[in-house]
Symmetry: C2
Subunit: 210 residues, 2 copies
DNA sequence: TTATTAACGTTAATTAATTAACGTTGACTA
DNA sequence: TAGTCAACGTTAATTAATTAACGTTAATAA
């Protein structure tokens, strides 16, 4: 299969989000301009994106949502459950746990870890918290594929090392620290503060023009 | 001045982050390969980026950090304080408030808003929570430039409308909802769940290659 | 039946971003 | 004082991503 561009994949998750609600509302078809409006891009872009997935629509009805979703998931999601773990049960960690509560069928956070004895053995949003010392054993046994790091910057590398040793294939890092990972482990860096700073910058710049 | 590419601006905040700690540690100069390692890009990219800001370095010492920072802030940050407000004091909101505690001199979250009477008038990380009903008046009076939305998706558009009416120029939206904003208001969409889903996808894809 | 039309699907053109190439600089050394 | 070298700075080449253009399709209605 032909390679799908990064950006396209990102948009696909957003299309998907919208289609889910649409499907629930009983819709069977969707037009490119509807998808476009829903995620804030141009209809041309939508059609361009859909081409990559070989999805066909008709001028009269648009694209069949069911097929869309099936095709989409066949590309974007494994058939089996992808297990994730979360390291660091602070405010951000708790927020993420609550977001992921029964959201996607084949993707879930199966455990959380923290060093604070106060938090260990508690359950947040249906997710059990274990002591950080158990992490490696647990991840290796459960074959968790992704680790989410929400610890302070100073502890991020250590957390990453543990996750890598235990065999995760991807890491989502919320700590403002540049992680050193072996090749083959996917890294998604998500610095919230940085994003807000960026927005503040562009908000100032965006004056007259558009 | 020549226009600076989006991506470059994003990287600049990361360079800046690193340089800050470097400066504190007493460093005066920095090489492109050091910056590159610190933020995870190639040295060529760093030099390319620095070109946009007309920053000069010498082969022997690299770039002078002080000048770098000065130049950088003159572009990226206003001289006066940029005020931001946060709407929705849930776990994510609290996390953001704590991150922004005395982090940048000219950028701060001056107030938070929530509808829950339980939270109103409390103080989180040095930030006072007001009732959502006060938002418009407050934002207009204080001339806050950026609004950060951390409410549930169903309430996001309403929050955005209030912020826009009160005159913000930029919005950072964490809710998984496509906001409709008038042109001229900068929007930064930050869907955490989506990012994690994306990472899970790429983690599965990244097998042998790379 | 055929004209109309709205939206698709593809190719092409443009623009943005990254990577590579390579000449330049200036401290250091023989 | 000339050679070396590491890192800069610029231009050029490549690649990725977006936007535009336009022919195609099939339902509808004259």
């Amino acid at each position: 299969m032909t390679r799908i561009p990064q950006r396209t994949v990102e948009r696909f998750f957003r299309y998907c989000q919208f289609l889910h609600s649409r499907l629930e509302a009983g819709g069977e078809f969707v037009f490119s301009h509807e998808l476009a409006a829903a995620v804030g891009v141009s209809p041309e872009q939508v059609r361009r994106d859909l081409m990559n997935f070989r999805l066909k629509g008709t001028p009269q009805r648009g694209y069949p949502i069911k097929e869309f979703m099936t095709e989409l998931y066949s590309h974007l999601e494994s058939e089996s459950l992808t297990k994730m773990v979360l390291v660091g049960v602070g405010n951000l960690g708790k927020a993420i746990l609550s977001y992921f509560l029964k959201r996607r069928p084949n993707l879930s956070i199966v455990a959380a870890f923290d060093q604070d004895p106060e938090k260990v053995n508690r359950v947040y949003s249906g997710c059990q918290v274990h002591h950080i010392g158990q992490l490696e054993k647990f991840v290796a046994r459960e074959k968790a594929a992704v680790g989410i790091i929400t610890v302070p910057a100073s502890a991020a590398q250590e957390a990453a090392d543990m996750l890598v040793r235990a065999g995760v294939r991807g890491i989502v890092n919320f700590a403002p620290a540049q992680l050193k990972l072996p090749p083959g482990v996917f890294l998604e860096q998500l610095d919230i503060t940085l994003s807000i700073e960026k927005a503040a910058y562009f908000a100032r710049k965006t004056k007259i023009k558009e």
